[in-house]
């Protein structure tokens, strides 16, 4: 389950494309997905994933709060209850992160993680169940972001200028270290996008130098081929199996 959650986050980090279409991420957006996992050859719906945005104001600044929640459906709660939250507080214009938080509760196993971004320095604190809090400080590249903010950043980019098969690399922060990610643009396909109906989408493959993802071009995401670039479908392949996330509802877009 942890691997699934990890993939979901990775799936939401498509970045590294360069051109900016000028589309900003709006506050009040809510995307709901049905998460399925392949159990003994049968794709079974196990969890709901909700991505949402909202404005947060402090006494000195404004932030966009990006949130990704993963919760198992009620019928699975008695077997293996998951309640995960991934959050990022970013500059509303540049989407550069200031604070990243991750709270995991998977069948009683808990992790709380916090990264505070100060330029290229990151101060992290991690608390795992029955273990003392661990603090670290490390340096990152100028363009390295957290996984959630990168997912949103990719939606501000202009994929129409990319050629099929074109790849690009970049770095993300996950598990207290920078991880290189490779993105491949694989053309266009039409897929079902929940309440948005059938949509032409950009098909993108994600590769990361981590054990969490498996196979070549088996971790895919479809973004609607319009200015909003709503993720309509995600497929993943991880060491313990395969699955997918299907958009069921998109509101506030």
């Amino acid at each position: 389950m942890k691997k699934i959650a990890l993939f979901i986050v990775f799936a939401f980090i498509l970045s590294s494309f360069t051109a900016d279409s000028g589309y900003g991420i709006k506050s009040g957006e809510k995307l709901v997905y049905a998460g399925s996992y392949n159990m003994s050859g049968l794709l079974t719906q196990i969890a709901q994933v909700t991505m949402s945005t909202e404005n947060v104001t402090t006494s000195k600044s404004n932030y966009l709060h990006l949130s990704c929640e993963l919760a198992t459906y009620t019928k699975w709660d008695s077997f293996f209850k998951i309640r995960d939250i991934y959050e990022s507080y970013v500059n509303p214009t540049t989407l550069k992160p200031s604070l990243y938080k991750r709270s995991i509760d998977e069948g009683g196993y808990t992790i709380k993680e916090k990264y505070v971004f100060k330029g290229t320095n990151v101060k992290s604190s991690v608390t795992k169940k029955n273990r003392p809090e661990v603090h670290k400080s490390f340096t990152i590249g100028a363009n390295t972001q957290d996984v959630i903010s990168l997912f949103y950043k990719v939606r501000t980019l202009d994929f129409s200028k990319f050629k099929t098969g074109q790849t690009q690399s970049m770095m993300i922060v996950f598990d207290e270290k920078e991880i290189p990610v490779t993105i491949k643009f694989m053309g266009k396909e039409t897929v079902s996008a929940g309440n948005l109906g059938k949509k032409e989408c950009y098909k993108i493959s994600i590769g990361a130098k981590t054990d969490a993802l498996r196979g070549k071009d088996k971790n895919l995401i479809w973004l609607t081929a319009d200015a909003k670039k709503i993720p309509a479908l995600l497929e993943f392949s991880i060491p313990v199996g395969t699955g997918k996330l299907v958009l069921t509802s998109a509101t506030g877009i």
Binding site: A34, L43, K60, D77, S98, K118
Partner: protein
């Protein structure tokens, strides 16, 4: 979209069919019952799949945790702003 319930039901259906085929004509009562039961189970699962939508229970503890995390995050952002000044 499948459901994991089809796995045991499918096995039961196949086993019932095999049993029915191997049984003598005057001994087919049990396989027939098993086959009917498997078919009913399959029908119920299909109905459930079509008419009952998956939902996430409103978890008060989780909702409370989200509220607390937001309050905490706001304080942390203000601390960060003070550090950067």
């Amino acid at each position: 979209m499948g459901t994991i319930a089809f796995l045991p039901i499918g096995l039961a259906l196949i086993s019932s069919l095999v049993l029915l085929k191997k049984s003598a004509e005057n001994q087919r009562r049990l396989p027939n019952w098993l086959l009917t039961l498997s078919a009913i189970c399959s029908f119920v699962v299909v109905l459930k799949l079509v008419f009952i939508k998956d939902k996430v229970e409103v978890d008060k503890k989780f909702e409370q945790q989200k509220i607390e995390t937001k309050i905490e995050a706001k304080k942390e952002l203000e601390e960060l702003e003070n550090d950067l000044e």
